[in-house]
Amino acid sequence: MTGTKSILVIGGSSDIGHATALRYAKEGWRVTLAARDLAAAQRNADDIRTRSGVDTTVQSLDVLQTGQLAGFVAGLSVLPDTVVCVVGELGDQLRAQADPELATTIMRTNFEAPSLLLEQFALAFEARGSGTIVGVSSVAGDRGRASNYYYGAAKAGFTQFLSGLRNRLALAGKVRVVTVKPGFVRTKMTAHMKLPPPLTVQPERVAEDIYRADVTRPRDVIYVARRFWLVMTIICALPEAIFKRMRI
């Protein structure tokens, strides 16, 4: 019986955060959603409670206020068994090139803030001797491209942070780190984009794969959809002299 387990989703107003929390709730896990937009998080929490019958709460958190992250973790009434961080912002690449403030926000939102927050959870989980940290990064972090290199660079940083954190915690003991690299996901963030159907998944698919990688079939790094692993392997294998001239 997993009824006493709990999950905290950072970025609980997002579609992937919502789907992930609901997946765990269906297995009886208690859910907390943390988000800056509390009304949107409450809408998701209501949905999860109504569908699953599981106790679901919301917490206010602005991850960009990095000075408050340690206090946030220390102040949690229950330290969760799993924390999933889905914080991210695609941003507008063209605008970011001309607007250093926007570029900074994209990099802080996708790399700096999630990394600093998950370090706090790593410390708390280590002290307890158990826990899983799930970081949702992106295939965009596998190779920098003209169309989104602030976002991609920040996600690359986050991927490497998770890799290093996993390495440190694996040497020390029982805390696990899972890196999730979604490709195309049909969400609010991509609602305005044309996505290629064979490579595009619903948030529920990401949620299912996260649950599996955490609980039923533990993994370190997963691509969603899985075939994106092959796509990215090919893209990463292209010589820079060719890659730099491609529009992908």
Binding site: S138, V139, R145, S147, N148, G183
Partner: protein, 461 residues
């Protein structure tokens, strides 16, 4: 160079975009701007910003009802459930939540919906807008009867609560109002407690139309009743049917039938799918005749024996075949669903079936059901019999359906707007005397010029 778009590719950003949209019948296909708001507030903002606009749920209306003349607002992003009170069985959900979503979450907890249409893949907003009916309409009424209240975004941007006590005229006109009063944002429904997931089904064989109607009329004590008619049977066998009667099975019923089935078995997820380009010519008289013969022999074998049938195949047999609408091929099909008042039903239904069987291109099967009084001025049901048939679109089809319409108008019947793609204004106006009430409300709220679907433009609503 390859043009694979990866996440975040700036040039992949598209306009919300003109697209070609069709209903479930794949006819007609029309151009519209498709908007996809992600919250009720976003839907209200889109409604305020656009004209020639209509809300669209799961796209299960067959014709042109959910295609705006300029823009169409999808409710699929309004897919959150808000609250459930187990003591009163009241459930509040956003408009884009489907009946399948509700059943997936609540059937394991012992709740069902008292009124369900023939597919579970419709949204709650769509079910209200079409005031859909089930196999128990003659006893229990339409979908509106399980709706306690909803919030409606008016074209001016105002959001109003509607119930039988608050904005009652707007509430009633929205039932069956085809989205033309405003956009439904969320709704509070009452669920039906059930003891098991099973139905106790009786199958009766009716040799012709009169026998089928006798069976349906004689089954007033049954909660659910429906007749499946073999459209190809002619002469003395015209209208031969299998009549299915059913009740929700209690635990005691299951014990009585000596069943060792689980009261709530876990769902089966396997679904068949029809290939994208199913050639329409595979549907011909010979193949349909073979299918119908097999269907009737199988049904007749069950006659007189009570069987336990799971709610999913009982209520939603076609949902097991994903995209079954593709079997009619590229040109699409029209589902013709009419209702004939009780006193004229036998004669007019016989006339319609006779013409259909002579023409010979109707679907495998037609469905015959009893209906009771409608819930709102624009609700489709009236006390009588409703007949439903599919016809592949062809060059001669519309003239033929016009002939059926003439029989219908003469008998005081009407066509179901959720299925309609082609009726004339005259047929529509003669069938819906409640139209004046809807037009009045549309004038008052400014909807007349702002909320316009291809259906409302075609029919002058």
């Amino acid at each position: 160079m390859p043009t694979v778009a990866l996440p975040g590719r700036a040039s992949a950003i598209s306009d919300p975009g003109e697209i070609r949209l069709a209903g479930w019948g794949n006819y007609p296909k029309l151009s519209t701007e498709l908007l996809a708001p992600q919250s009720p507030a976003g839907a209200r903002d889109d409604l305020l910003r656009w004209s020639g606009v209509i809300a669209r749920g799961a796209g299960r209306a067959y014709g042109d009802a959910a295609i705006g003349t300029q823009s169409t607002i999808s409710s699929r992003g309004l897919n959150r459930m808000r609250r459930f009170d187990a003591a009163t069985a009241q459930l509040t959900v956003e408009a884009g939540v489907t009946i399948a979503d509700i059943l997936a979450a609540f059937e394991p907890r012992g709740f069902f919906l008292k009124v369900v249409p023939g597919t579970k893949f419709v949204t709650v907003g769509g079910a209200i807008a079409a005031d859909v009916h089930g196999k128990n309409h003659h006893r229990d009424g339409g979908f509106g009867t399980i709706v306690d209240s909803f919030r409606l975004a008016l074209p001016g941007g105002e959001i109003v609560s509607c119930s039988r006590s608050e904005n009652a005229a707007l509430f009633a006109a929205t039932l069956g109002g085809m989205g033309l009063t405003g956009m439904i944002l969320d709704a509070t429904l009452r669920l039906l407690p059930i003891e098991t997931a099973w139905l106790r089904q009786d199958t009766r064989v009716a040799g012709n139309l009169d026998a089928a109607i006798d069976q349906l009329e004689g089954s007033a004590s049954s909660t659910y009743s429906v007749a499946w008619i073999d459209c190809l049977a002619r002469g003395a066998a015209l209208g031969r049917s299998l009549v299915y009667l059913a009740e929700h099975a209690t635990r005691r019923d299951m014990d009585g039938l000596g069943s060792d089935l689980a009261p709530f078995p876990s769902p089966r997820t396997q679904r068949l799918s029809v290939p994208e380009l199913f050639p329409g010519w595979l549907l011909n008289r010979a193949s349909m005749r073979v299918f119908n013969e097999l269907y009737f022999r199988r049904g007749a074998a069950h006659q007189g024996k009570q069987r336990l049938v799971h709610w999913d195949p009982y209520f939603f047999p076609l949902d097991a075949i994903a995209d079954w609408n593709r079997i009619y091929g590229r040109r699409g099909f029209v589902q013709y669903q009419c209702v004939i008042p009780l006193e004229r039903a036998r004669r007019v239904l016989a006339d319609i079936l006779d013409r259909v069987s002579r023409r010979g291109d109707a679907s495998f099967l037609a469905v015959l059901k009893q209906l009771g009084d409608g819930g709102g001025p624009m609700s489709f049901p009236l006390r009588g019999y409703t007949l439903t048939m599919d016809f592949p679109v062809s060059d001669t089809l519309f003239a033929f359906l016009d002939q059926l319409d003439a029989l219908l108008v003469d008998a005081g019947g009407r066509l179901y707007l959720a299925k309609d793609a082609r009726q004339s204004r005259a047929t529509f106006e003669s069938g819906y005397p409640g139209l004046a009430a809807l037009r009045d409300i549309r004038q008052q709220t400014g909807a007349t010029t702002r909320l316009v679907s291809h259906l409302s433009a075609r029919l002058g609503i």
